[in-house]
């Protein structure tokens, strides 16, 4: 996705220079404190002083933020700013990365997600994930959606399972398009349909939180619009954290927006405020297109 080891500050400076912008200081000082409203009274997940390391490289520096219940929080920032890494700490997908180490306190409903006795299998059933590239299993549409319910033993009978599949596909507004071909391979769908299938698969196990890692970056504008519509609908019932490269998308779907820069959380505010009256000069520089 993004080159991990390039010299980012100089890259950003060059980008700014290339755009004919006046050079300005885009470095983050070491004592950067997040500005805005990081915390929420109605928090579903709370993160305090998170540091993430890949071997000796620190990818996330001392991030503290709350994710509010039944809200959409968007994470934006230039490539390599750590927003995806941050998202993946929330369902411990970083565990699968060799040499990745997470420090700090992450809780969901007060429960420590990094407690030694916590089972990641249970966690991932409660915190679902949609990935950047649509990645349906090479199985039928039905089996894709039914998979989570099957492995977690959510359906006692075939009828229950059928119901879960239908409901999930309806919620993902895919039912009408696929109800005639539930037993054809999910990989035969178009990119946008595949991504909605992945969303249906994620919501089939009724998670409490859904993480989305740039879910529309591989899709055309029409498919993107449908997914955004879907995210808005889902936010009524689910807590959603979405990483996006598109500021317009963040503006359209999210309630709150968090701006990351070089592994640091710069600003968190209601979306409207971030895009109209950013508090921090870096946020302003980014949303006005001076770099990124």
């Amino acid at each position: 996705m993004s080159p991990a080891n390039t010299d980012k500050p100089s890259m950003i400076k060059k980008a700014a220079a290339a755009k004919g912008m006046p050079m300005q200081n885009l470095e983050v000082d070491d004592h950067q404190v997040t500005v805005g409203q990081s915390f929420s009274d109605n928090a579903k997940m709370t993160m305090r002083n998170i540091n993430v390391f890949y071997g000796d490289n620190q990818a996330i520096h001392d991030v503290s933020i709350d994710i509010a219940k039944n809200q959409v929080i968007a994470m934006i920032g230039p490539s390599g700013c750590g927003k995806s890494t941050f998202l993946r700490t929330l369902n411990r997908m970083n565990d699968t990365v060799e040499g990745c180490r997470v420090e700090g306190d992450i809780r969901m409903d007060g429960e420590n997600l990094y407690a030694p006795k916590l089972d990641v299998v249970e966690l991932r059933a409660r915190v679902g994930m949609v990935f950047q590239k649509p990645n349906p299993f090479p199985k039928s549409i039905y089996d894709n959606v039914a998979y989570g319910a099957k492995i977690h033993g959510l359906a006692d009978t075939r009828v229950d399972l059928d119901e879960i599949v239908e409901n999930s596909l309806r919620k993902a507004s895919l039912w009408k398009e696929v109800k005639e071909r539930l037993h054809q391979p999910g990989t035969g769908l178009s990119g946008g349909q595949q991504q909605r299938l992945c969303i249906a698969r994620a919501i089939a196990v009724s998670p409490e939180v859904i993480l989305m890692d740039e879910p529309c970056s591989a899709l055309d504008p029409i498919a993107t619009a449908r997914i955004e519509e879907l995210i808005k609908e889902l936010s009524e019932n689910f807590t959603i954290a979405i990483v996006t490269h598109s500021m317009q998308q963040a503006a359209r779907v999210s309630h709150r927006t968090a701006y990351f820069h070089l592994g640091k959380l710069i600003e968190v505010n209601p979306t409207e405020q971030v895009f109209t009256m950013p508090q921090h000069r870096l946020t302003e520089a980014y949303i006005t297109g001076r770099f990124g």
Binding site: N91, M93, T96, E98, V121, E122, L123, R124, A125, G128, M129, F131, K133, N135, P136, F137, P138, K139, S140, Y147, G148, I151, H152, P185, C198, R201, A202, V205
Partner: protein
């Protein structure tokens, strides 16, 4: 302006050079393929031209009378009588009836040498199958001796090889030929009998059965072990010095000369664990050691080729690592694993050296029926026949090579077919 024209000329100039380099490279490739294919063609033409004769054998038609006094028995149910019976007398008498003018001991011996030394026992088997033939006479095609067979085939081809026959024998064959009483027939013995010192009675069924038993055991042991090792190393093992060390050593094992595996098998399985010698069990164990690295390496490559997005999707759904592997990685990696296993098996089928070390080179006449019967395998049988002095074994050797190559081609084709079929199948 002039600079861009200049550049264009340069590009055009370099273009012809590049095109010529590419054309040259294509021709190198075509020549390489041509050399490879012609080597295979020469091999096949040579083997088939030498070996096709073995699929036919020379038979002589004689009137055999199953006279109980000639054999020296009076009851077909009495097994001691059957063992003591002079069965060779049946074929000898039949020959003498055909050529009554022959007299004198040495002439008679030469006459008897027209037929295979096993002819009497073939007649015994025939009589046991049809007891009503006792004291009857029938006209029957009897297997000729290998020297006769060699002479008759070469004589038919117009280049008679008579070094091992006497004038009289050649005369008798001429006489039989004029009367239409000697002919070539499909050599069923080749496919229904085990090894023999007499070329005309030797068959490859024993070696084929030995190969099948050995390979079944090899597959049963090496596929599960190899696949489990590959899955553990790829999916579960931490990446550290130890796994690096193991990986290097698996690659080393794949490069160890096979005869060393034979010595290992001799030292460990036979000397230490006292597994009997020459049996398919010990052959299967040794070939398992030999094919394991191949299967582990190909299985790991197959597992690696499963896209990481599928793993992420499964883990993100809350599948445990075991479920991820079992439900998603294994089905996608299976075609590659099976291909690797079949290629490993094909290797094992052609392996000779390690089996020499563990006694599967013994001369075994009986056809093995179980994993604990002494056996030999096809490539070792080829080695044994190639080593035999009788001229008739030359064509047998080539025929056995043809059978071995047929098995190899079938296995490799099925590997390709299986991969294509399973890849499309979800």
């Amino acid at each position: 302006m002039s600079k861009s024209v200049d550049n264009l000329a340069k590009i055009k100039h370099s273009l012809t050079r590049r095109n010529r380099a590419e054309a040259r490279f294509r021709w190198y490739g075509r020549i390489a393929i041509f050399i490879g294919l012609s080597a295979v063609a020469v091999l096949f033409v040579d083997i088939i031209s030498k070996g096709h004769g073995a699929f036919q054998a020379t038979y002589i038609n004689l009137d055999v009378s199953y006279n109980q006094d000639v054999i020296g028995i009076d009851n077909l149910m009495d097994s001691t009588q059957l063992v003591a019976g002079d069965w060779q007398a049946l074929s000898k008498t039949a020959l003498r009836t055909k050529f009554p003018q022959v007299s004198g001991r040495s002439d008679k011996r030469e006459l008897n040498n027209l037929l295979s030394s096993g002819a009497g026992f073939d007649l015994k088997d025939r009589l046991m199958a049809n007891p009503l033939l006792l004291n009857e006479t029938e006209s029957i095609w009897i297997l000729a001796d290998d020297d006769i067979d060699t002479y008759y085939k070469s004589w038919l081809d117009g280049d008679a090889y008579a070094a091992r026959l006497s004038e009289k024998q050649i005369g008798w064959i001429d006489e039989l030929h004029q009367q239409g009483l000697i002919r070539l027939q499909l050599n069923t013995n080749l496919f229904t009998r085990g090894d023999s010192r007499e070329p005309e009675q030797a068959g490859i069924l024993g070696a084929v059965m030995g190969s099948i038993l050995t390979l079944v055991l090899t597959l049963l042991l090496s596929f599960p072990i190899g696949v489990s090792a590959a899955i553990y190393l790829e999916e579960f093992a931490p990446k550290n010095k130890w796994t690096d060390f193991i990986e290097v050593n698996i690659n080393n094992l794949a490069a160890v000369p096979s005869i060393i595996f034979g010595l290992l098998g001799l030292a460990i399985f036979i000397n230490f664990f006292h597994v009997p010698r020459s049996v398919p069990i010990v052959g299967g164990l040794v070939l398992t050691l030999m094919t394991l690295p191949t299967i582990i390496i190909t299985s790991r490559a197959a597992i690696k080729s499963v896209p990481p997005s599928i793993r992420e999707a499964a883990l993100g759904m809350g599948a445990s690592k075991y479920q991820m592997v079992l439900h998603h990685v294994l089905p996608l990696a299976l075609p590659g694993m099976l291909t690797g296993a079949i290629i490993g098996m094909a290797q094992a089928l052609g392996e000779t050296a390690p089996l020499l070390m563990i006694g599967m080179v013994a001369f075994i006449v009986d056809i093995p029926g179980s994993f604990t019967d002494p056996a030999t395998v096809l490539p070792v049988q080829i080695f044994l026949w190639a080593d035999s002095p009788e001229r008739a074994f030359i064509e047998k050797t080539s025929a056995a090579i043809m059978v071995l190559l047929t098995f190899l081609i079938i296995m490799n084709t099925s590997a390709v077919w299986l991969r294509k079929r399973l890849e499309r199948h979800w």
